[in-house]
Structures are given as structure tokens and as C-alpha cells.
């Protein structure tokens, strides 16, 4: 099968999934249930994608646990996205280094 055709088909399907809901809904939704549901979607979705996947994203589980702990602590202290993301990443790197010795 032609690879270029595959790429095109994938791109079209993915774009339609993103585009249709975005253009279909106009203005603010009034229904309280739907509004509440959509309010919770980002938090539910982000946490479902993060846990437990993050614990399997590194070579050593302990490195991931340390990275998550650092991220949660800094986030609780109100640090910004970049700070938290870089600190979590650096922690994973250092702990993995120690584990690899």
C-alpha cells in the first residue's frame, strides 16, 4: 500500500475528529449538565493519560515515582508549567543515572 496515501488518510481522519466538534458548536452551551461535564473533561482526561502511564514511561519505576513526587510538590507550591515540567524531567534523569550505576 502506498505510504503517501496512508499518510493522507490518517491526516484527514484525525483532522475531521478535531474539526467537526469545534465548528459545530457555536456560542456558549446553556445546559448546566453539559457545561459541568465539559468543565471536568480536561482534568479527567489529563489525569487518565498521566496515570498510571507515567510509571511505565521510564526504565526505572523509582525514577518515575521521584519525578511525579517532585512535580506534585512544586505544583502544590504554585510553580509554573515550565518549572514543574523541567524539574520532573531532571529528577527522572538523575535518579535513572543513579539506578544505572
Amino acid at each position: 500500500m502506498n505510504v503517501w496515501l496512508c499518510i493522507l488518510v490518517m491526516a484527514v481522519v484525525t483532522y475531521l475528529i478535531r474539526m467537526i466538534p469545534l465548528t459545530l458548536i457555536r456560542g456558549k452551551i446553556k445546559n448546566r449538565f453539559v457545561k459541568s461535564f465539559l468543565y471536568y473533561v480536561p482534568y479527567a482526561c489529563l489525569m487518565a493519560m498521566t496515570f498510571p502511564a507515567v510509571f511505565h514511561a521510564t526504565d526505572y519505576v523509582i525514577a518515575a515515582i521521584a519525578g511525579v513526587a517532585v512535580a506534585v510538590l512544586l505544583a502544590l507550591k504554585g510553580k509554573g508549567l515550565v518549572t514543574v515540567a523541567v524539574a520532573a524531567s531532571a529528577t527522572v534523569f538523575l535518579v535513572s543515572l543513579v539506578c544505572g550505576i
Partner: protein
């Protein structure tokens, strides 16, 4: 106008870095599947979806049918429709239809997350700024990964990969700290997601479907037991 774009670009930096690392390994996978670096870069710039592309490459490598390719993309990427739906409620009133068509193109997990965390209603300049660097990072990483294979040490790419998760945590935790309902909804999502990962007969469910089920279940629970107050959800576009 211009300021909004700049703020967006700045907010996109951590996403771009994380994307670069993840797409690097995607590029290597493409190379292994027999694709060229140019094909890889074109797939990345036109698809912008990590899980979807990884799955697509696997189908291509296995010589799967076009129907199979469409179905995997549909299932894995269906969560984006939920995100797009949620995004409509935060868009500035002035955003026109053709602008929505542009914004929709780059609505990835991370861009959606950062956009929803933005303090103001979302304008076209902000969204384009936010998407710019991540698109470059994602495409460049794929290309370099396919060209230069294993140059980046695994320890570095693994650590950079975690950056994206760190960002998700940084978005949810401060809100969950202040709002008990958000904390409960987030915990339910984690619990169900763990079931899909560890309970034997649930492990067959694909990651895309699992995320959709977790999101719908947890958000529905929140909507039933902790409906948001009428006023707090009203977005007031800054003018």
C-alpha cells in the same frame, strides 16, 4: 494582538521540548517500518498525534488495509473530539469559522491542556502562537529521529518524555488543591485508568478507548454530583 501571539509562543516552549524527544523515537520507529525521513516529517506535520502516528506506522509496517488504518485513527484519536468540544466553550466570541478550522488542526493533548489553563478566553493569535513551536518541534524531532536514529542517549529522551506528564500534573494539581470536586473527578479518572492497565480482562482495551471511557465516566460523575455554579463558568472575554 501581537502580544497574545508572543504569550502563546512562550507557553508552547515546554510542549515543543517534550514533543522533540517523543517524536525522535517516533522517527526511529518510522525508519524501522521502512518509511523515509521525509515521509515521517510529512506524517508528523499533517497528523500531530503521538499515539495515532505510532499506531499508524505499525499498521503501515504490517501492510494493513486502509480500513484498518482509518479505524485505528478513529479509535485512538476520538478523545480529540471531546477536547475540541470543551475548547469551544473557551474560545473568544470573535473567533470566526475559518479561524476555528485553523485552531482545530493543532488541537493536541498538550496544546488543549495549556489552552484550557490559560487565564483569558482564547484568541486566534494566542492559539497560533501556542501551536507554532510544538508543531516545529514535533516535525523536526520526527525527521531527525528518522535520519539520525540512536544519536540521542536513551536516558535523555526518556527524561524529556516525562516533561509532558510533568506539565499535565502542573495543570491539574493547583486546581485540585482549591477545588475538591476537581480532586475527586481527577482521582476517579486515575482509578479507572489504573483498572484498564492492571486488571487482566480489561487490558485488551486500547489506550485511546480507555482514555475516552475514563474521561466520560469521571466527568459525568462530576457533572452529576458537583454541577458547576452558573456564574463561575461564564467566560468574560477581555476587550
Amino acid at each position: 494582538m501581537n502580544k497574545e501571539f508572543q504569550v502563546g509562543v512562550r507557553d508552547g516552549i515546554p510542549i515543543a521540548l517534550g514533543y522533540f524527544a517523543v517524536s525522535f523515537s517516533l522517527g526511529i520507529a518510522m525508519l524501522t517500518a521502512g518509511m523515509t525521513a521525509v515521509q515521517g516529517a510529512v506524517m508528523s506535520v499533517s497528523n500531530l498525534t503521538s499515539a495515532g502516528e505510532f499506531a499508524g506506522v505499525r499498521v503501515i509496517a504490517a501492510g494493513g488495509a486502509l480500513v484498518e488504518l482509518i479505524l485505528t485513527q478513529l479509535i485512538i484519536n476520538l478523545r480529540y473530539s471531546l477536547m475540541s468540544l470543551s475548547l469551544t466553550q473557551k474560545l473568544d466570541e470573535k473567533v470566526t469559522l475559518w479561524q476555528k478550522l485553523l485552531i482545530a488542526f493543532g488541537n493536541t493533548d498538550e496544546i488543549f491542556a495549556v489552552a484550557m489553563n490559560h487565564q483569558k478566553s482564547l484568541t486566534l493569535p494566542y492559539m497560533l502562537g501556542l501551536q507554532s513551536l510544538p508543531i516545529v518541534g514535533w516535525t523536526a524531532g520526527t525527521f531527525l529521529g528518522a535520519v539520525a536514529g540512536g544519536i540521542m542517549p536513551r536516558s535523555v529522551s526518556v527524561a524529556m518524555n516525562v516533561m509532558l506528564y510533568g506539565m499535565f500534573i502542573a495543570i491539574v494539581i493547583p486546581v485540585a488543591k482549591k477545588s475538591r470536586p476537581v480532586l475527586i473527578v481527577a482521582s476517579i479518572a486515575v482509578f479507572i485508568s489504573s483498572l484498564f492497565r492492571y486488571v487482566p480482562f480489561l487490558q485488551g482495551v486500547s489506550e485511546g478507548i480507555s482514555i475516552i471511557i475514563c474521561t466520560i465516566a469521571a466527568a459525568t460523575f462530576g457533572a452529576i454530583f458537583f454541577p458547576v455554579a452558573e456564574e463561575t463558568q461564564e467566560e468574560r472575554p477581555e476587550r
